[in-house]
């Protein structure tokens, strides 16, 4: 099967970026919008075609999906053995990601044509979107660790550029910087992990590293550091990079601030695609995570995921900025995916968690993008991010309302929506392999339902507001993506993922467990019911509850002061003390000592310049006296 055409999936977005980027002031905004949409339509078409071709028409090897290369070429050589390739790797997860990225990106492109209408940097915006799409696609199809790292960084940059899109807003600039630097810090771990892996594993190539019978996995015990295998360390460091990108606790602080970017960007990058890169990375390296040191690193992944999902869900309860609620919700859901990977095993049905994680990634991309775009539609209509400014919007914006409701139901795990199926599998996997995590997950599921419907009711129901301008439904360019994604938020649940994306690439069938599902559904429904009770009509219960929690509420509202802690560490300790003292040291001590040498020379010369009085006779005296002394020495000493 020839997949070499897949190179166009990468080439088209980058060409679009260059085209729009170089001629940004010569292309009319409307034209650039269409260029972007057209390019993405082609890319999406190619992705779907590839998916169909791969899953249904490519023969399997011993019942397993094989790894194919669309293209693979040498990019740079480090040593004879270590080299970086650039290429396109096709296997179930990369193809699934291709579909996700291209679909969401296409929807966001279409949506942005309406949302960004009239913006000064319209063309620039589409250029950056194309750049992001290119980078994300490159990341997804990476054939080796270095390629993934390269595109990983490019994704980070396009995220930086897009968060800082409203660059005249200081908060947006700060958020962009924060996002980039925090993820960059995490990437530091990633890079060190890659370098260690390259040295001890002997290659960067996924095919070689992930081979369960390969040298990298078999020889994990050959070297150790502080009680753990070096390979485990490498994996943990790489997971640090993944955690940074996926906003896992404690590296999540950039994600809420990233909501300063335009809403379509939040939908595309900070909900559906880029933030799941960490999950994708762990999934990509899953055999290593699983086999090396009996999955030690995988336990870490599971617990980090669980803790993140819990913390994020709790914080989400108290936020008022609708985009931030969604951001914490994203973080919580990614925590789900992480923990699902973490509890997964490798073979067959044991690898349920892996499959569930990927499935949830897929469905989450759909419904979270939907929710964000819905939120964007609302913000577009009333020009505010805060719930307090909203209420009773269901009459003004019927389509947004319905689609948002579908999204909320899906994320809450309402039966027969996509979220229900994928989340149920995660719960099942957690139940099978790790009970404490299972209970956390179940609790988070309830919280999720509650805060999503708190959001939903406050926006669309609740007290009626007087608006300055009557809110009106968004244009078609925005409604169409909402409707499409709403459809997907239900339909994605009926794709048989277990026959496509599995840990060992072999097919298995899901046993649907009614008891487990019933428990999950009842937890979700009770969350919804509670929200209905609290927020359907304006009541004072929320007020009472929050006062009842007292200190804990304040803590939660301030996101546990993690931001402040980081700010203290960076701004006060690093910037002010370390960096400041280094600058001082350089100006005064290092440079001072160099200048001191100069000054000492000058003062010494001042000291001896009295000898050069300029008086001829002094010189003559010195001359004569010196001559006599020399003569005496020659005559009587030597």
């Amino acid at each position: 099967m020839d997949f070499s055409y897949t190179i166009f999936i990468l080439l088209i977005p980058i060409t679009t970026f260059l085209l729009l980027g170089f001629f940004y002031n010569r292309i009319k905004p409307a034209v650039s919008g269409w260029i972007g949409v057209t390019a993405l339509t082609i890319v999406a078409g190619l992705s779907y075609y590839t998916a169909i071709k791969y899953f249904f028409y490519t023969p399997k090897l011993e019942g397993k999906y094989q790894t194919l290369y669309g293209i693979k070429m040498n990019w740079m050589n480090f040593t004879d053995k270590l080299h970086i390739d650039m290429g396109i790797l096709l296997d179930p997860i990369s193809i699934m990601m291709l579909v996700v990225v291209s679909t969401i990106s296409l929807m966001v492109h279409i949506y942005s044509r309406g949302y960004m209408d009239g913006d000064r940097g319209y063309t620039k915006f589409f250029a950056f979107l194309s750049l992001f799409t290119f980078a994300m696609m490159g990341l997804v199809v990476a054939t080796n660790l270095f390629q993934i790292y390269i595109f990983w960084e490019l994704v980070g940059v396009s995220s930086f550029l897009l968060i800082g899109y409203y660059y005249e807003k200081p908060s947006a600039v700060a958020a962009a910087k924060k996002a980039f630097i925090v993820t960059r810090f995490a990437d530091l771990g990633f890079l060190i992990g890659i370098l260690l892996m390259g040295y001890y594993g002997g290659s960067y190539d996924f095919g070689i590293l992930n081979n369960p019978e390969g040298a990298a996995i078999m020889n994990w015990a050959s070297s150790s550091f502080m009680g753990l295998s070096v390979i485990t360390w490498a994996l943990l460091l790489m997971f640090m990079g993944g955690a940074g990108k996926s906003a896992m606790f404690p590296l999540h602080i950039w994600l809420p601030d990233a909501m300063e970017g335009p809403t379509p960007v939040s939908a595309l990058i900070h909900a559906a695609t880029m933030v799941v890169a960490g999950v994708y990375l762990v999934a990509r390296m899953f055999p290593m995570f699983y086999f090396v040191e009996d999955g030690y690193a995988l336990h870490v992944v599971a617990w980090v995921g669980a803790i993140s999902s819990l913390i994020a869900a709790i914080i989400a309860l108290t936020q008022y900025d609708i985009k931030r609620v969604l951001a914490f919700s994203t973080m919580s859901q990614i925590g789900y995916m992480m923990l699902a990977l973490g509890v997964s095993k490798f073979d067959g049905h044991e690898g349920l968690g892996y499959m569930a994680s990927m499935w949830h990634l897929f469905t989450h991309a759909m419904f979270k993008a939907l929710l964000f775009l819905g939120a964007g539609s609302i913000i577009h209509a009333i020009h505010s991010n805060f719930m307090q400014d909203m209420g009773g919007l269901r009459k003004y914006m019927p389509i947004t309302h319905i689609t948002f409701l579908i999204g909320a139901l899906s994320i809450s795990g309402f039966p027969l929506t996509a979220g229900f199926f994928s989340k149920d599998e995660i719960l099942a996997a957690a139940f099978e392999h790790n009970k404490p995590i299972y209970f956390i997950t179940l609790f988070v599921a309830g919280l999720t339902a509650f805060y999503m419907f708190r959001l939903y009711f406050s926006i669309f129901w609740g007290k009626k507001k007087e608006y300055e301008h009557t809110p009106h439904e968004s244009p078609w360019s925005m409604k169409f993506p909402l409707m499409f994604l709403a459809f997907m938020s239900v339909a994605a649940g009926y794709i048989s993922f277990s026959e496509m994306v599995t840990a060992d690439r072999a097919i298995f069938h899901i046993h649907f467990d009614f008891v487990g599902a019933a428990i999950a559904v009842s937890v979700g429904l009770s969350g919804i019911a509670l929200a209905w009770f609290f927020y359907k009509k304006p009541t004072d219960y929320p007020e009472k509850i929050s006062t009842a929690f007292g200190r804990f509420y304040t803590w939660t509202f301030h996101k546990f002061y993690i931001d402040e802690l980081y700010l203290f560490i960076t701004r006060t300790i690093i910037f002010k003390y370390i960096s400041g003292s280094f600058a001082w040291f350089d100006q005064n001590v290092v440079d001072g000592s160099m200048r001191g040498i100069g000054n000492k020379t000058v003062s010494f010369s001042k000291l001896i310049k009295g000898l050069q009085s300029g008086k001829l006779q002094d010189y003559a005296v010195a001359f004569a006296g010196g001559a006599f002394i020399l003569v005496l020495i020659v005559l009587y000493v030597l």
């Binding site: 005296v621 004569a624 006296g625 006599f628 003569v631 005496l632 005559l635």
Partner: protein, 167 residues
């Protein structure tokens, strides 16, 4: 007889030399110097170097001393006095000079000069031929160089002494 003359001249040389470097009145100092130089010329005559003695008298007494006198007259009063150095300096320099003198004399007296016994008379003709000889051991080249040097010095002296016009 010659011995007596020699000592007389030696004393003249030394005494007038001392007088010339210590005298306060500059014009007098020049006169003392002249006396000293003439005595040196006398020594040359005694040594049978009549030509040299004549040159000494002509150039020094006739040329250099006159130059000194002119320059003094140009820039000093006739009675112009020289500023005295401090006593300390005088003593110090005298000691330094005596030290040098001691070293030199000690060296001279400890050296055994191989004095030639034969004598030869020197005529002006010999000197002139030697100077203008461009054969082996001839001094024609230094002679010419000196001529050019004198010319250059002459022109230089004029230019320098003339000074810049606007002053």
């Amino acid at each position: 007889m010659e011995r007596v003359f020699f000592y007389i001249f030696a004393v003249i040389i030394i005494v007038f030399a001392i007088a010339s470097v210590t005298s306060k009145k500059i014009l007098r100092a020049i006169m003392y110097l002249l006396m000293s130089l003439l005595a040196i010329a006398a020594l040359y005559f005694m040594m049978d170097y009549a030509f040299l003695g004549a040159v000494q008298m002509a150039v020094y007494a006739g040329g250099i001393i006159i130059l000194f006198i002119f320059s003094v007259l140009l820039i000093h009063h006739v009675e112009g006095e020289i500023e005295e150095p401090s006593k300390m300096r005088k003593i110090g320099m005298a000691l330094l000079s005596l030290l040098g003198l001691g070293i030199s004399l000690a060296t001279i007296y400890s050296f055994d000069f191989k004095v030639a016994t034969k004598t030869a008379t020197t005529s002006v003709e010999n000197i002139g031929k030697g100077l203008l000889n461009y054969g082996e051991g001839g001094f024609i080249l230094p002679f010419e160089v000196i001529s050019i040097l004198l010319l250059a010095a002459m022109i230089g002296a004029i230019i320098i002494a003339k000074g810049r016009k606007n002053i």
